[in-house]
């Protein structure tokens, strides 16, 4: 089977769109957390399920995955992946900023419940800043769909997400990843709080390209 590749121009275009979108997403998240957040330059690649392990680091690590479906002219999923520590930090700062409560003082059960709703809120905000930027640039119609959270080994949650993004009917998917860092707090993982992954269908990249006029 031939492997499909992106041309340099397509790759750069997607990378730039992702860069702008991640910037917007990161600044909305920063506002909600009242913290400074920076992100790296997004990584764009075409993947086949057969070689996802070349792409995923630490596939056996426990991972929180929050997912947002996207529908319309572009179908796929927007994911935010983080380790437990990242999830804790996000929920801690978001609850402090939004409802003025200290999550550490709550009972474990309350913490757990609150953490889930905070994380869902987080993907809604990140996902929708992504979608807004994407529609602004490309003039396509894209809507956000349902959200979900899964916690398991990284490889296991990711292949569920890839299935959701259409790995059943398409052999290739586009994988766009940007990493987020807190700038004013150091913790174990080099102040890394999570990564945003967006997986649109390979077939639909042409629509994005047309949208930006390429």
């Amino acid at each position: 089977m031939e492997t499909l590749l992106l041309t340099k121009l397509q790759e750069n275009t997607l990378q730039e769109i992702a860069n702008i979108s991640t910037g917007h997403a990161a600044s909305s998240l920063a506002k909600l957390m009242d913290k400074k957040i920076k992100h790296n330059i997004p990584f764009v690649s075409v993947i086949q399920l057969e070689n996802i392990f070349d792409l995923i680091e630490n596939p056996e690590e426990e991972t929180y995955m929050i997912a947002l479906e996207i529908n319309g002219d572009v179908n796929g999923v927007i994911l935010m992946l983080m380790d437990e520590e990242g999830a804790n930090l996000i929920s801690k700062y978001m609850t402090k900023k939004m409802i003025g409560e200290d999550i550490d003082k709550m009972t474990l059960e309350e913490q757990k419940e609150l953490r889930f709703s905070v994380l869902v809120e987080c993907i809604n905000i990140i996902g929708n800043s992504y979608i807004t930027t994407l529609t602004d640039i490309t003039k396509l119609k894209i809507e956000s769909g349902l959200t979900d959270i899964a916690i398991d080994m990284k490889a296991a949650v990711l292949d569920r997400a890839f299935l959701k993004a259409g790995a059943t009917s398409y052999s290739d998917l586009i994988y766009i990843k940007s990493e987020l860092y807190l700038t004013d707090e150091k913790y174990i993982n080099k102040n890394f709080i999570g990564e945003i992954v967006i997986v649109p269908n390979f077939e639909e990249k042409d629509r994005i390209m047309e949208g930006v006029g390429i």
């Binding site: 089977m1 399920l49 057969e50 070689n51 996802i52 392990f53 596939p59 056996e60 426990e62 997912a67 479906e69 889930f116 869902v120 769909g145 349902l146 959200t147 979900d148 959270i149 899964a150 916690i151 398991d152 080994m153 990284k154 490889a155 296991a156 949650v157 990711l158 292949d159 569920r160 997400a161 299935l163 959701k164 790995a167 059943t168 009917s169 052999s171």
Partner: protein, 161 residues
């Protein structure tokens, strides 16, 4: 000794001291077919029970249970395994924990497991052991020499079947 990583839609064959390894099995299933006399085994990492669009041009048969397991069997026989001595073990097919049942949750794991069992029965390969279902992802390593399958999960640790 070699350690083969088997990712989705792949088939790997190992002999003697080799290890076959599938990481992060969610709703996917790893089927191991082995011949303990000739010390040869093969693993396939299955994504779905059957192909959805029969007319699609770019079907990869090893992603699906109904087509993939037969390919694995043929490969094993080509490599010198004796069909009457073949035995099977399967692992995977979990439903991942999720809070919203509509998106990430599905019964793919269950259907995968059912289809694998049916195919193995059709092919007359006895199923010796299985670890399927549940709510957590698994990593599986098969040791060809001892026919042991080591299964690791995040919460429950390791076990050997």
């Amino acid at each position: 000794m070699k350690k083969f990583m088997v990712s989705i839609g792949q088939i790997k064959i190992g002999k003697e001291e080799d290890e076959l390894c599938a990481i992060g099995l969610g709703s996917c299933i790893a089927v191991i077919i082995y011949d303990s006399f000739n010390k040869i085994a093969g693993m396939i990492h299955i994504l779905l029970p059957t192909v959805l669009q029969k007319d699609a041009s770019d079907i990869i048969p090893t992603r699906y249970a109904d087509t993939g397991i037969k390919i694995l069997l043929d490969k094993l026989v080509d490599e010198g395994a004796k069909k009457s001595l073949l035995r099977a073990k399967i692992v995977g097919g979990a439903e991942l924990f999720s809070i919203n049942s509509r998106i990430l949750k599905s019964d793919v794991g269950k259907r995968n497991a059912k289809m694998c069992k049916e195919i193995l029965k059709d092919l007359n390969i006895p199923l010796i052991a299985s670890d399927i279902g549940g709510n957590s992802g698994r990593s599986a390593t098969f040791y060809v020499q001892s026919n042991k399958l080591k299964i690791k999960t995040l919460k429950k640790g390791e076990k050997v079947i």
